[in-house]
């Protein structure tokens, strides 16, 4: 059943995800310079890529490549933590709500709906905005706070799935045998929901990257803390304040990195989607094959 995916999309996604994981682990060691350090004399202009600085420099002569590599770890770590915690919350709250029903379900659903409807970024800004600017919160804490706004969607999906599974025979028989609630949830229901949990995780990590990058870009999270969003913050404020033209080697790498990371996860999600819903799989494939087999387009067209 778990054959190596044939779809090109999924393969590319897997490869990209692997590269990013590697980056997160060994990135800072690879960095040739200290990202904070301004090197040599500055003429106030960013330097283009050269032998010494593969991705050029910022306008205060900081090495862009180093910033990218060091920032990568923080960005990826925060988003992974946010994704993991949010998914864990979603699993616990969503399945519990769906399984027990009644007032517990009503309460948890209302809670989830509140968090779904509340605009996340403004809320995060208000929470982080009051933290003193010089404080440097650890990645894990940032991820934790972000996860507060990211669990609700997955919880809702898992709750809906659990509701439909509650009436299935194997769950009913487990209840008749007298198995305890949490055991049923963990061993009967959860294993069937693994693809959905995986999708939810990936989706939440994408959300986490976006949220963290946005918060860094706004300068809400301490700007001494390197991340891809922070790089864009410095670029933007340099442009706004000193009217320095943002050079492509400065803003493109972090933006591209975020985009590609998100794309990798989205492609993986596509793969899981096609796995769950075979209809999406054969669309496109069969028409081409039919044409290849020389059959005219027949049927309901």
């Amino acid at each position: 059943m778990l054959q190596f995916p044939k779809s090109g999309k999924i393969r590319v996604g897997l490869l990209m995800a692997l590269v990013f994981t590697l980056l997160a682990i060994i990135g800072p060691w690879l960095a040739p310079f200290d990202p904070n350090k301004s090197l040599t004399t500055t003429n106030g202009l960013p330097q283009p890529p050269s032998g010494a600085h593969l991705l050029g420099t910022t306008q205060v002569q900081q090495d862009v490549l180093s910033q990218l590599l060091v920032g990568g770890r923080s960005t990826i770590l925060v988003s992974l933590i946010a994704g993991a915690v949010a998914t864990a919350l979603a699993v616990v709250l969503g399945i519990t709500a769906g399984y027990y029903g009644g007032w517990l379900d009503d309460l948890l659903s209302m809670l989830a709906n509140i968090f779904l409807v509340m605009p996340a970024l403004p809320l995060l800004i208000v929470i982080f905005g009051f933290i003193n600017k010089t404080a440097n919160p650890p990645d894990a804490l940032i991820g934790l706070v972000i996860s507060i706004t990211g669990w609700a969607f997955g919880a809702r999906v898992l709750r809906a799935q659990t509701l439909s599974m509650r009436t299935r025979d194997y769950v009913t028989s487990a209840r008749i045998i007298g198995e305890r609630g949490w055991r049923i949830m963990m061993f009967e229901i959860l294993p069937n929901l693994v693809p959905i949990v995986a999708t939810s995780f990936l989706f939440t990590v994408i959300y986490g990257v976006g949220a963290y990058t946005a918060l860094s870009f706004l300068g809400v999270i301490s700007v001494a803390h390197w991340s891809w969003g922070t790089m864009l913050y410095w670029a933007q404020s340099a442009q706004a304040a000193q009217q320095v033209h943002i050079e492509w080697w400065w803003f493109l790498p972090p933006g591209l990195a975020v985009g590609l990371f998100g794309t990798a996860l989205a492609l993986l999600n596509f793969g899981i989607d096609e796995f769950i819903n075979p209809r999406l799989r054969t669309a496109g494939l069969t028409r081409r094959r039919a044409r290849a087999a020389g059959q005219p387009r027949r049927g309901a067209a």
Binding site: K9, M110, N113, I114, L116, V117, M118, P119, A120, L121, P122, L123, I125, V126, I127, G129, F130, I131, N132, K133, F153, I206, G210, T213, A214, F217, L218, G219, V220, G229, L232, Q236, A240, H245, I246, W248, F251, P254, G255, L256, V258, G259, L260, F261, G262, T263, L265, A266, L267, F270, D273, N277, R279, L280, A283, G284, L285, R287, R288, A300
Partner: protein, 326 residues
């Protein structure tokens, strides 16, 4: 109408939670917000102001927590969001009011375009399976995953700086024009709105396309679509039968999406220095202007809730199954 009634309760609760968060956060965080305020306002501060601030943030006050909360609610009902630190003595409300129309105009129009275009493209992609439209999807996914402001920076660099087709920043040509109901001003506004709007559309459209496409593929397998074809109806009619059903999840998913679109738009405004809420938000963060920050949070939340309510009305109109008691 039961659906709408339940949603209204939800929105009321959410508003209450937002207000409560606003109330508690400054009191939970380390540090003294009033000292920060004084730091910003410098010479313009009088003992009276300090006392007012103390009251606002519950420092040195005789009222208990509940009393302060009631006070706060009372202020809100009277439309008092406090006084901005950085634009002292302007009220928060006045600062927001100057920026709000810009944001509403930009985001409103861009979202409508994105939804409409995305839905149509999604229908086309589903109806013509296996065509070139399927190849659009990975590219769209990238734009969706990339943060709005990155797309914004890209667009600025390409269309504004390099090609010079559109202006780089601001809401209108501030150097030569004044706001007024004349064509010169209007056309400048439009001119300056194109790139920000484009950013928002590009960043959000992928979700609508993919969502609609997937739902159409599922719907097209339904028996009533088969019957519609068996009836010998024109293709356009058959597609509309399917689309009428397939669009429902998109409408109900609108409430989720609007939160993201709003967030993304704020960031886009910053890149373009567009004089909307996003712009003043950045100022508020940079200046540690807490009342303004909180005021913006509340206004954005209420606006999103309002948009959600609208989407709920539309949904109950489109799906007759929701109109009767479940």
């Amino acid at each position: 109408m039961r659906l709408v009634a339940r949603r209204i309760v939800l929105y009321a609760l959410t508003a209450l939670v937002a207000i409560t968060v606003n109330f508690f956060i400054p009191r939970l965080m380390p540090g003294n917000p009033v000292e920060v305020a004084i730091g910003h306002m410098q010479a313009r501060v009088t003992p009276g102001t300090i006392r007012a601030l103390d009251l606002q943030y519950g420092i040195n006050t005789k009222l208990g927590l509940v009393g302060q909360y009631v006070n706060y609610l009372d202020q809100l009902i009277h439309g008092n969001l406090g006084i901005s630190f950085s634009s002292y003595p302007a009220t928060v409300v006045s600062v927001i009011r100057s920026a709000l129309p810009w944001t509403v105009g930009l985001v409103g129009i861009a979202t409508i375009i994105s939804f409409a275009l995305g839905t149509l493209l999604g229908i086309a992609a589903a109806w013509r399976r296996g065509s070139w439209l399927d190849n659009l999807l990975p590219a769209m996914t990238f734009f969706q995953a990339a943060p709005y402001f990155f797309v914004a920076i890209l667009i600025v660099a390409l269309f504004a700086t390099k090609l010079g087709w559109f202006p780089q920043n601001s809401g209108y040509d501030t150097t030569t024009l004044n706001p007024g109901l004349n064509w010169a001003f209007m056309s400048s506004v439009l001119d300056h709105a194109v790139l920000p709007a484009l950013t928002i559309v590009v960043g959000s459209i992928a979700g609508w396309i993919i969502g609609m496409r997937n739902m159409m593929l599922t719907t097209m397998d339904e028996d009533y679509v088969l019957i519609a074809q068996a009836k010998g109806l024109a293709s356009r009619r058959v597609i509309s039968y399917a689309a009428r059903n397939a669009i429902l999840p998109s409408v109900s998913g609108f409430s989720l999406a609007i939160g993201f679109v709003v967030s993304g738009s704020l960031l886009t405004e910053i890149v373009f220095s567009y004089p909307g809420i996003g712009y003043i938000l950045l100022q508020a963060i940079g200046n540690e202007d807490y009342p303004l920050l909180q005021g913006i949070f509340l206004i954005i939340t209420f606006a999103v809730l309002g948009a959600n309510l609208l989407a709920d009305f539309v949904y109950s109109f489109l799906d007759p199954r929701t109109r009767q008691e479940a």
